[in-house]
Amino acid sequence: MDYVASTQSTSLDKSTIFNQLKAFITEVIGEEFIEDLDITPQSSFTKDLEMDSIEIVAFSEKVKAHFGSHIDFTGWLSNMDLDELIALNLQDIMTYIAHAHYSG
């Protein structure tokens, strides 16, 4: 089981979140494939990063483990229809985490 310590930080800026999400993506799809990818906040999970559904599950579990139980990440994803999930990009998640962190 992968283990990621929950963050104790009280200030989460978007670049910190972005770098953490990028690290999770690298863990999930592997270093060898990351070299060919230009990961930006606008990168979409399915089209740009070519992540399949089980890789997005693994990514989601890492987000939940790291950013804490006060962020209902799976619940947020479950409100999206298939088109929204396909179009989901890193910026969407950064905005969600930052908002949920400060309002949580």
């Binding site: 089981m1 089209k47 070519e50 089980i54």
Partner: protein, 258 residues
């Protein structure tokens, strides 16, 4: 969770709402993984239940092995998972081939399985799936992705294509999957399905498996057949309707007082 040693291999499992009510175990189909439930159906069921979902052997993030694709070994994996998780009695939902696994679990382990919901399970006597194993090649996958209408609307890039091709090549050419499927071909006609006490059958109106839904309703006796708009990809096409139907079936109605 999420990696659990079961029957000499490692299975990937996820759970939602561990403090919830009665446990529901969700079983996916062949060539799929637990993600078919994870994003919509599982969170909906987790409003009232403890939900456990796992990747079958050689699927998703579970360990790849060369044998054990028959319904009995799959049911053994299920039982070992219940034991490993300390789960005594559960309800079960199975999609496609996972629906056949769920029925087999209910027949073999009546003290561990209560309600059973089956989503668009095929008849294993239908040899079309086995035929694909014989003709599978890289060109077959390219042709399939180009020409067959993909009702799930998920597109596959180069990395995913190679990943899937490796997985199918392994399953079709290096494992016992075809022989195991053949050995289960008479499951629906031979298994004592009448023993199953409580069963919901969810099928897509346009599914090429719908006739199996009618046959199962006859064989199980008190099963309820509910037909939703969609084809065999029902859980991806209609996750809310599938989730609602499952929730109504699995969640007991509150007892009226006064």
């Amino acid at each position: 969770m999420p990696i659990i040693p079961v029957n000499g291999l490692s299975l990937h499992a996820q759970e939602m709402n561990p403090a919830g009510g009665r446990t529901v175990v969700l079983i996916h189909g062949l060539f799929s993984n637990l993600a078919v439930y994870y994003f919509h159906i599982a969170p909906l069921l987790a409003q009232h239940h403890h939900v456990v979902m796992y990747d079958l052997r050689s699927h998703g993030l579970s360990q790849s092995v060369t044998t054990g694709y028959g319904l009995d070994t799959m049911a053994d994996d299920f039982l070992a998972l219940l034991d490993a998780c300390g789960l005594n009695e559960v309800d079960v939902v199975g999609y496609s081939f996972g629906g056949l696994v769920a029925l087999n679990c209910a027949i073999r382990f009546p003290n561990r399985v209560g309600k059973v919901a089956v989503i668009d399970a095929p008849d294993p006597a239908d040899q079309r799936a086995r035929d694909i194993i014989d003709i599978y090649s890289r060109e077959f996958l390219e042709n399939y992705l180009t020409n067959v209408a993909d009702t799930t609307r998920m597109r596959m890039g180069k990395r995913q294509f190679e990943k899937n091709h490796r997985k199918y090549t392994f399953l079709f050419h290096q494992t016992s999957i075809k022989a195991d499927m053949l050995a289960d071909e008479h499951f629906l006609s031979e298994a004592p399905l009448g023993r199953i006490a409580s069963c919901l059958l969810l099928y897509g109106r346009s599914s090429n498996c719908l006739h199996t839904g009618y046959a199962l309703r006859e064989r199980i006796g008190n099963a309820r057949l509910k037909i939703l708009e969609g084809d065999h990809n029902l859980p991806v096409q209609q996750p809310e309707q599938v989730g609602r139907a499952l929730s109504e079936f699995l969640t007991p109605l509150p007892i009226a007082h006064g």
